[in-house]
Amino acid sequence: MGRYIGKRFLHSIFTLFIIATVTFILMNLMPGKPFTGEKPIPEEIRKNMEAKYGLDKPIHERYVIYMKNLLRGDLGMSMVHKHRSVGSIIKERFPISASLGLRALSFALIAGLFLGIIAAVNHGKTWDYVSMIIAVIGVSVPSFIIGGLLQYFVGVKLRLFPVTGWESFKHTVIPSFALGLGTLAVMARMMRTSMLDVLNQDYIKTAKAKGLPRRAVVWRHGIRNAILPVVTILGPLVAGITTGTFVVENIFAIPGLGQFLVSSVNQNDYTLIMGLTLFYSLILVTMNFIVDILYGIVDPRITLVERKE
């Protein structure tokens, strides 16, 4: 086990290194330059700016410099937000995205599992259809439509919740709902499938045959076992939901990190692009890692030892 974790850790470092390299290359192929302003800058001024940020050096030299700084944990200064370091932007903004993401995820998890269980228990009957349709509607409407509609009708027309900002609990309700809908559907369907799978197992049939009440069968044997595969997709979902916050943050003017995902690329803010890519990669890699380990712990049938052929 220890050896496995060590090896996985090394792999993760390697993964991050490759991603950093690929992003660095792609980013530098991208058209545009960070200091191009609305008013054209005289040539000599631009040269000065580029020299200041080391952009006058050839790409391989810049790569080496970046990697060296990265090893020291220095992500550099943003090229657009002149006085902010990439590290501080991430540190300040990510907690808000994370909070939004977790709220959305909890909502999706609770509602999704509920719908999934209802559907599975009533397999093939009306309630199966009803809960699946509710779930699927969530995944059927793009979040910018849901967000825009909710903002106007619930915020402006009904005045139930604030329209923009991120200050009180009230501010968080619509954005979390809009962001969570997609995940809700994934959860619900995953739970349904997994639950159906479990309910068809022999031990469930045995339990039924023993005369255990239906509710006990579902609770004690069904849900507990069915929830396992759902837990395993939580990793990618957490990462997905935190990266998916762009639209919701934009509509509701929430000062999170998601907005930078698009603006950094649009503004050729090289250091910020690199910082964000690495940061989100780190989250993804860590999540996958944790899930694998958890899976091993939860399910004794899986051993975390290297297979020898």
Partner: protein
């Protein structure tokens, strides 16, 4: 213990023929799946809805005397009427024609992105799972790396790097999209490769290519079809998202995503600009998802009854 009378029992004899008779009608896997799918009314409705949308995508633009890019400044923001069934947009273009032209673009993107995902995923996952060992290790390491890439940043980067257009969209979306499929296929292949029929084929000297294509793929085809019905709406959705952030197809072409993101800005005064494309997206998503669920149930032999 003598309450049972003897005459209540009589020998029925033993008919060899009879014992071999199959009581259930003989059905192939596909026939059986189809039979079960047919019983799922919702899935069937979805199937017909999708066929309807595809037919409209083909003939829709020819039903009206407008082209998708014909501007009419006297007709800007006209509500639905008998001249413009779905109304007009901010440049006075007919939305009925644009919605169905958009359907072609969106469906095409969805279909091809999903197709690439499936094909690449199946080949990659198949090879990795079948050969195992070192090959598997290296191939899965690559998959791990791709899994760690924040999808959105890369897609946006690629969209900016390449010429805007449908092909770019499809490539950008497939570049990491196949990874999930590859993992799924690998898992299935790992399970299958130790089963008797595969071992038998191996023993008889079948080539790996033959084993993978003839013995393994047919067994995972069902899962792949389900996967595809999930991938198509996923790609349509991604396209809508990219349209929202300003990256998408080449103008003045339309896609459902670009129409909907134009529409959401006008929702208060010109709701028709949002309603039609949004309903199309949702209907397609809904149908593919329900059909996918139905197919999964139908193709799963364990649920056979």
């Amino acid at each position: 213990m003598s309450a049972i009378e003897l005459e209540k029992f009589k020998p029925i004899g033993m008919d060899i023929e009879d014992s071999e008779r199959i009581t259930r009608p003989s059905l192939t896997y596909w026939q059986d799946a189809w039979r079960r799918l047919k019983m799922n009314k919702l899935a069937m409705v979805s199937l017909y809805v999708l066929i309807g949308i595809v037919i409209m995508a083909i003939i829709g633009p020819y039903l009206r005397p407008y082209t998708f890019d014909e501007q009419d400044y006297m007709e800007i923001f006209s509500p639905p009427s008998k001249d413009h069934w779905f109304g007009t947009d901010d440049l006075g273009r007919d939305l009925f024609v644009r919605v169905w032209m958009g359907a072609r673009v969106s469906l095409r993107i969805g279909f091809f992105a999903a197709l690439i995902d499936i094909v690449v995923g199946m080949i990659y996952g198949g090879i990795s799972g079948y050969f195992g060992g070192r090959t598997d290790d290296i191939m899965m390491r690559i998959v791990d790396i791709l899994y760690g890439i924040p999808y959105m940043i890369i897609v946006i980067l690629l969209m900016i790097l390449m010429e805007p257009g449908e092909l770019t969209l499809i490539i950008a979306m497939s570049i990491t999209g196949w990874v999930g499929t590859a993992r799924l296929v690998r898992g299935q292949v790992l399970q299958l490769k130790n089963q008797e029929f595969v071992l038998a084929a191996k023993t008889l000297g079948a080539s790996p290519w033959r084993i993978i294509t003839k013995h393994m793929f047919p067994n995972i085809l069902g899962i792949m079809i389900v996967q595809m019905t999930m991938d198509i709406p996923g790609a349509i959705f991604s396209e809508a998202f990219l349209s929202y952030i300003g990256l998408g197809i080449k103008l003045p072409n339309a896609s459902w995503g670009s129409l909907a993101s134009d529409g959401i800005k006008q929702v208060v005064e010109r709701p028709w600009m949002l309603i039609f494309p949004a309903v199309m997206i949702s209907l397609t998503m809904l149908s593919f998802n329900i059909l996918g669920d139905g197919l999964r149930d139908a193709l799963d032999p364990k649920l056979r009854n």
